[in-house]
Every structure is written in structure tokens, then in C-alpha cells.
């Protein structure tokens, strides 16, 4: 048995407060790899007590991964974490909690069916004689709720509170384990304006109590209002920091994007045809205050940019008849088409490649062939009922050949195909329906670089054949490379339209974060 020797430099001398030893929390050279991508490539950051630090970066910059590592959700593949100067290795969340580091997830981790007090002490319930000590739970919860400015009773069932109030309960829970570092991943993403203000107050109060608040947000105005310091990540790397006094929207955007602003596009200029599709004043349930209007012309590829949660997917779902829009109409080839179901959308000449390929695009256990023909089986059937087998085989083979789908056989279940080839099967299903308008939601998410290029080529070929193509993408490069024109959304609203010559990352980010064009 090897004996463990502790380096003397790491032993805290008695009587010396922790903060004089080293920073509250520091990460040095953190590396994290996922299959096929390097999420973090050596990031170093330091956090001190009593400060509010915003972490900024595009989608996929590595913000969430870094936060998860700090909070012990995932172990790093390399690098070092120190708390009060001591090297720590978190095996799980409870290890991090023990050192006072708590992560509040984007999706709250609360039990909606339990009351507030039970949620705060979930898993750490005080007991008396082996029974739940409800009186203590109630008393301590009251104190914690007061600290976060919640007036509700600890006996309130959590599900009856608003999202904002639930967020505060989550913070109270963090405080109950005397959190010294509170990490919040987009805490205001689903809060109303009033609730957001309330959260700001609580965050400032915690700061004055010496808690370090680390904060991920896509909303630049929010960061300007709240942060003492902004740490910018890009492509898994630490880009730099901006101090509060130097904080401007422009500076944040340019650091986030980093490289020289791309303006070029590989898509060849051409003149689009007539309008084939238009929506007028479409309002989705997610953003009842925002009405969207835009059109698409034949042969045109239109990108739809915006940050995650900007309401793009919701808009596509409403257009395609999955969710009922609150208002507005869809006009196809000059005619208003009432669309209440995907069936009606398909009949009207629409096709939607959904964002969630496995959950909404494919039936994974079914073979490639059956997936290909799922939307058109009824159309080709004998007497509208009996499957036309020779036609089904021919259709499926045609799509495999046309899209270059790599599969051992078209009777192979699609779950065994790679992401890119799965996406081609979804595309094939829709091409068989011969749509006039193709809607794509994050068409290249989770596909490798080669397949990405092929999907781009397919989109261009389809546009050349006269289809109107609308694609939602959170990948700015993709939007710039592929779009003839781009629409940018922010909080459910189309905040701007950029022509091809206006397309650059700064312009898109400005619109996507709620600003306007300079």
C-alpha cells in the first residue's frame, strides 16, 4: 500500500483565511474532448469572491462544458481545478457542492410535485428520530426564501410557482448548502422582464454577501447591466476578458466572433424566381407578442439565424401545422392555405426536416426504405390503401442514389447509419413528396464535415431546381456561406433581414442579440 503524502504547500496554515491562500476557484488548462470534437482546448480562468462574472461565447464555444466541469458534472480530460488554492478533483456534483460550488441548470432540476421546502432540502432532509423534521424544514426554508426575496410559503407546491419563482427556489436551495460559487446557465432564458429584474437584485445581494456568481447569457444588454467582468470563449479556447469599465456591445461581439469579419460567400449569385411562399403576421404560442412576416422565392436559399431559443423552431413548427399558430396566415403560390396538420402542409407543398432528427425525423428501428416512403406511401398506394411495393423499392433506391446515402442495404434500420446519412434519409423522404418549399431546422447539426458539404450541395441543387429553401442555423459560418438572404430572429421577433452582400457575423450577431444594425 502506497502512503499518500500531501505536498506541504497545499496544507492551509491554521488561522489563515482561505482567500489569502489563493483565489476562490481557479481552473488551469482545462481540456475536454468529446467524440469528434474538442469542446475545451486548455482554458484557464480565475474566480474571486464577491464578483459577478459573465461567460460569453457563440453556440458551441464551450461555455456550458466549462461550467459543467467546474461544478463536477463532468470530469475534465486535462487541466487542474483549485478551490482556495487546493487542487481538487470532483467525481460528481456532490463533491463540488461540498466545496460550495453549485450549478443551476438551464432546465431546472426541481420536483414540481413537491412543495418548496421539500425541494430545497431534497436528498438532505433534516430528520428527527428517523422521521422527516418538517418544522425545521419549514423554518430554515423561510430564512432562505427571505434571502432570495420570495414571499411564498415553504408549503407551496413548486409547480404552482412561475418559472422565475422556481429559479429563485433553486437559488435558495444552492444557498442552503452554503454555496460560495453559484453558476447559472442562462438563468433568464425563460423569465419575464419583471422576474429578470428580481433575479438581478438577488444576484447583486449575493455578490454583496461575498458569493461569486458565474453567469452564462446570450443577452448582451443583460451582461452589460450585471457583470463585473466578462470572460470570452471561442471554439473551446479562452479568448480574453473585458472589465466592466471597458464593456461595450461592439467589443463583446468582436471578441466573440474573433477572426476577421467574414463577408465572402461561396454561393454563386443568381436571380431568384417568383414568390412561392409567404407568411403574414404569424404568431406562435411561445412568443405571443411577436408576429412574423416574410416570403420565399423560387430558387432561393434563405438562412434563418438567431441564438438558441430565439423562436425559430417554433415558427417552423407553426408553419408546418405541428403547433397551432395564435394568428397569421400562410400563403403558398398566391393562395392562402389553412394548415392545421403536417398532412395539410405536405399537401400544400411544404416539407420540414426537423431539428431533432432521431425524435422527429426518423423512425430509427425501421429500415431506410420504410423511412424514405413514410410521407408518400399513401400517395403511391393502389386504391389509396395497398402499398405499391415495386414503387416503394424504386423510390427508395432513387433517393439512395440521388443523395449518395451510404448504407449497406435499404433494408437496414436507419439507427445503424451515421448522422449525415440519417439526415440524407430524412431529406430523401421529403424529396419524394416533391415539395415546393423545403424547411430545414439545423440541417447539419451532429453531422461530420464531409456530410455537411454534401448537405450544402444538395440544398444548392434543390434551389437550382426551383425549390424555395429556408434553413434555420445557429452556425454563423453556415448562414453566411449558404444564404442568398438571411432573416435574423431574437426573442420570437424577426429583428432584421440581411441581403447577401450585407451578410457578416457582426451584423448577424448584432441582430441576434437584440441590437440593431450599426
Amino acid at each position: 500500500m502506497a502512503s499518500v503524502t500531501v505536498p506541504t504547500s497545499l496544507i492551509r496554515p491554521p488561522g489563515v483565511p482561505a482567500s489569502t491562500i489563493g483565489p476562490l476557484l481557479s481552473a488551469t488548462g482545462i481540456v475536454k474532448e468529446f467524440p469528434g470534437c474538442k469542446a475545451l482546448a486548455g482554458v484557464s480562468v480565475v474566480f474571486e469572491p464577491g464578483e459577478i462574472v459573465a461567460i460569453l461565447g457563440e453556440n458551441g464555444a464551450g461555455k456550458s462544458t466549462l461550467m459543467k466541469i467546474l461544478a463536477g458534472v463532468q470530469p475534465p480530460d486535462g487541466g487542474e481545478l483549485r478551490v482556495d488554492g487546493e487542487v481538487v478533483a470532483f467525481n460528481d456534483v456532490s463533491d463540488a457542492m461540498e466545496r460550495g460550488i453549485v450549478l443551476i441548470h438551464q432546465e431546472l432540476n426541481l420536483a414540481e410535485n413537491l412543495d418548496v421546502g421539500a425541494n430545497i432540502f431534497l436528498g438532505r432532509e433534516p430528520t428527527r428520530y428517523g422521521m422527516l423534521d418538517r418544522a425545521t424544514i419549514r423554518r430554515k426554508s423561510r430564512e432562505l426564501l427571505d434571502r432570495v426575496g420570495l414571499t411564498c410559503s415553504p408549503d407551496t407546491i413548486l409547480g404552482e410557482l412561475s418559472t422565475g419563482q422556481q429559479q429563485l427556489v433553486e437559488i435558495a436551495k444552492a444557498l442552503s448548502i452554503s454555496a460560495r460559487v453559484l453558476i447559472m446557465d442562462e438563468p433568464t432564458a425563460s423569465l419575464s422582464h419583471h422576474e429578470t429584474q428580481l433575479l438581478y437584485e438577488v444576484v447583486r445581494k449575493l455578490k454583496s454577501e461575498g458569493v461569486c456568481v458565474i453567469y452564462i447569457s446570450h443577452r448582451l444588454s443583460e451582461i452589460i447591466e450585471l457583470a463585473d467582468r466578462v470572460v470570452v470563449l471561442r471554439d473551446g479556447q479562452y479568448v480574453g476578458e473585458i472589465k466592466r469599465v471597458e464593456l461595450t456591445r461592439e467589443k463583446m461581439v468582436s471578441m466573440m466572433i474573433g477572426r476577421a469579419l467574414t463577408t465572402g460567400s461561396e454561393r454563386v449569385a443568381h436571380t431568384p424566381g417568383n414568390e412561392v411562399f409567404r407568411i403574414e403576421g404569424l404568431v406562435t404560442e411561445a412568443f405571443p407578442q411577436a408576429a412574423s412576416t416574410f416570403n420565399l422565392r423560387a430558387g432561393e436559399i434563405v438562412g434563418m439565424a438567431g441564438l438558441v431559443g430565439a423562436g425559430r423552431t417554433e415558427l417552423l413548427r407553426a408553419i408546418f401545422g405541428i403547433d397551432r399558430p395564435l394568428a397569421g396566415r400562410v400563403v403558398i403560390a398566391g393562395q392562402t392555405k389553412p394548415i392545421h396538420s403536417p398532412r395539410e402542409a405536405i399537401n400544400a407543398g411544404l416539407a420540414l426536416v426537423p431539428e431533432d432528427r432521431k425524435g422527429e425525423g426518423l423512425i430509427l428501428e425501421m429500415p431506410v426504405r420504410h423511412n424514405h416512403t413514410l410521407a408518400t406511401l399513401g400517395r403511391t398506394a393502389h386504391a389509396g390503401a395497398f402499398i405499391n411495393r415495386p414503387r416503394e423499392v424504386a423510390d427508395s433506391r432513387e433517393m439512395v442514389a440521388a443523395l449518395g446515402t451510404r448504407t449497406a442495404s435499404d433494408l437496414l434500420a436507419v439507427q445503424f447509419l451515421s448522422g449525415g446519412n440519417q439526415q440524407k434519409v430524412v431529406l430523401g423522404k421529403w424529396l419524394l413528396s416533391q415539395p415546393k418549399v423545403l424547411l430545414l431546422d439545423e440541417p447539419t447539426r451532429g453531422v461530420d464535415v464531409g456530410a455537411k458539404q454534401e448537405i450544402y450541395r444538395i440544398m444548392e441543387e434543390l434551389a437550382a431546381k426551383g425549390l424555395a429553401v429556408l434553413f434555420v442555423s445557429s452556425d454563423l459560418e453556415e448562414v453566411i456561406r449558404m444564404s442568398d438572404r438571411a432573416l435574423v430572429m431574437h426573442e420570437g421577433r424577426i429583428t432584421g433581414e440581411l441581403q447577401r452582400h450585407q451578410l457578416n457575423e457582426a451584423a448577424i450577431m448584432a441582430l441576434a442579440t437584440g441590437g440593431s444594425l450599426a
Partner: protein, 324 residues
């Protein structure tokens, strides 16, 4: 396919073992009895299969059997309805029950288990109430009706083919064509696998699920009619009791997954025959009848365990090959 062959093998083994242990097992009278009852249960199981494929469940099958079995003699004998009106009428009632189940599940978004559990209680209670809890039968005046279920086609020596087997085969063939050759069958399997993706592909998932419940209840009604003619004496409080469980068990034994999206008609029919054969073998071999559920439950459990084992083994082999 493998699954179907697997339980076919088990069935053959059960038959051979029973024949060796009890020579009377394959005498014509017993064969006729087993095939006749297998046919009834296979019919109910085929109905159950439709909802199970969509990922649903129907717990009310036995109560529908009981309701139809009591209502039909009540209408014909007590209320002097013509059988040619009464039979379509009770089939209509069964179909309506299916429509109600389907609407509650697809429109009111209730869980199939809950909806059909309520159905199980409600139809049983209705059967008892309309009959005053008195036994129902057709008496002696309707022997020609009873022949609908009791007629036996002579085959070889004293061996016969009970007519319900023919009905069962007809229903099985229609069901197999529906599930394998029509777009609706494909849609049902697709819904069972991934309802979201099916909906996104333009399939009217609500309507297809409703159709599945209508088919299930209607077939339960048909089974109820056949059983009524065969038995000619129905106790409203118990007739058809637990038949839904036999139907579900046969469907699972035959390769249906309660998660949906799987199952073949052939498998389900063989599953029903196997269950009924086990039940009969239990009696014939002199095993205490009190143990009959133990036998059936154990075989069902071993069946699904073996199936998981085969899947696990296949998965491991696939992994081994891909890493080799």
C-alpha cells in the same frame, strides 16, 4: 420471424411432451376442444395486438366479451329481437366502445391504461345491471344459432375442424393483410415506434390510433358473440373475466412489445394456441388446477426472458464483430 418460429418450437415441444405423458392428449375430442378455445383466444388476441402495436393497451376486452355475451341473448330471447338485427346491433355497440376509447385517448389525451381500466369496470357493471345479474342463455329454441360456434367440419376418422378455427383464420388473414400490405398497417407500426416522427411525416396519428381501438373492441365483440353461442350460459358477473389478460399475454408471447411497433399476426395466433394448450395440458396431465396460472405465468415469463436473452446475445455479437 425468428420469434414466431421460436414459440412454434415451444408449442411443438409442449404437444409432444404432453402426448408422451398422457396418451389421451391427442384424441379427437381433446384436439377439437383445444383448437376451438384456441381460436376464440386467438381472435381476441389479434384485436389486442392492434392497440399494442400502437403502444397502447386495452384492458376492457373481457368486459366487452361479457357485455356482448349477456346482451345478445337478452335481446333475442327476452326482447324477441331477430338475430339478424341483434347481432349487428351488438357488433355496433362494440365498435362504439372502441370509438369512445379512441376519442378519450387521442382527443382528451387520457392514458390508454386508465381509459380501458374504467371500461373494464363500466361494461362489467352494465352487463350485470341490464341482466339483473341473472344467468343468460338462448334456451332450446335457437339451436341453429348455436351451430354458428358449435358446428364441426369432419376431417379424418373422428377428427373434426371446429368452425371457430375457420373464423379465426379469416380474421387472421385479413389482419395480416391490413398490417403488412396496407399503408395503415405501416402507419400503425410507425406510430408504435415513434409517434412524433410519424406525425411529422404527415400521418394522422390520432385517427390511426382511434382505428386501432375500434378494431380491438369490435373483434372483442365478435369473440363475445362466438363465445355466447358456444357456452349458451353466461354469468354476467364472471363471463369473460380476465380474457384481456390472456389476450395481452398471447400477444406478448407472440412477439408484441408493450412499447409498441412490434408483432406479427402469426406469432400472436401461435401465442394464443400455446397458452390454451398449456392450460389444457395442465388439466390432462393431472397437475392440480390450482397451479394452472402458475404454469401459464411461468411460461410467459420464461418466453420473454429468453427473447431478451437472444437479443442481448445478438447485440453482443454485433459489438464484438464491429470492434474486431
Amino acid at each position: 420471424m425468428k420469434r414466431t418460429l421460436g414459440i412454434l418450437c415451444i408449442l411443438i415441444v409442449v404437444v409432444i411432451v404432453s402426448r408422451i405423458a398422457e396418451p389421451n392428449f391427442l384424441i379427437s375430442r381433446n384436439v377439437s376442444n383445444v383448437t376451438q378455445w384456441s381460436a376464440y383466444f386467438a381472435i381476441l388476441s389479434i384485436g389486442a395486438m392492434f392497440v399494442i402495436i400502437t403502444g397502447g393497451i386495452d384492458l376492457s376486452i373481457g368486459s366487452v366479451v361479457g357485455l356482448v355475451g349477456c346482451l345478445l341473448p337478452l335481446l333475442i330471447v327476452k326482447h324477441n329481437w331477430s338475430p339478424s338485427v341483434a347481432i349487428p346491433f351488438v357488433i355496433g355497440i362494440s365498435a362504439t366502445i372502441g370509438v369512445i376509447h379512441g376519442l378519450l385517448i387521442t382527443r382528451a389525451k387520457l392514458q390508454p391504461f386508465v381509459v380501458t381500466l374504467c371500461g373494464l369496470m363500466i361494461y362489467r357493471g352494465m352487463a350485470r345491471w341490464i341482466t339483473g345479474d341473472n344467468n343468460q342463455g338462448f334456451g332450446n329454441k335457437f339451436d341453429y344459432l348455436l351451430e354458428i360456434s358449435r358446428w364441426k367440419i369432419p376431417l379424418y376418422k373422428d377428427y373434426v375442424l371446429p368452425i371457430p378455427v375457420v373464423y379465426m383464420l379469416v380474421i387472421a388473414i385479413i389482419a395480416a393483410i391490413f398490417l403488412n400490405q396496407t399503408v395503415w398497417g405501416r402507419y400503425l407500426y410507425a406510430i408504435g415506434r415513434n409517434e412524433q416522427a410519424a406525425h411529422f411525416s404527415g400521418i394522422n396519428t390520432n385517427r390511426m390510433k382511434l382505428i386501432a381501438y375500434v378494431i380491438c373492441s369490435t373483434i372483442a365483440g365478435l369473440g363475445g358473440i362466438l363465445l355466447a353461442f358456444d357456452l349458451n350460459s353466461m354469468q354476467p358477473s364472471s363471463h369473460g373475466n380476465a380474457y384481456e389478460l390472456y389476450a395481452i399475454a398471447a400477444a406478448v408471447l407472440g412477439g408484441c412489445s408493450l412499447r409498441g411497433g412490434e408483432g406479427s399476426v402469426a406469432g400472436v395466433v401461435i401465442g394464443a394456441v400455446l397458452l390454451r394448450t398449456l392450460y389444457n395440458a395442465n388439466n390432462m396431465l393431472g397437475i392440480p388446477t390450482t397451479l394452472e396460472f402458475v404454469t401459464i405465468g411461468t411460461v410467459l415469463l420464461l418466453g420473454v426472458l429468453a427473447d431478451e436473452g437472444v437479443k442481448w446475445y445478438a447485440h453482443r455479437r454485433k459489438l464484438a464483430r464491429s470492434t474486431a
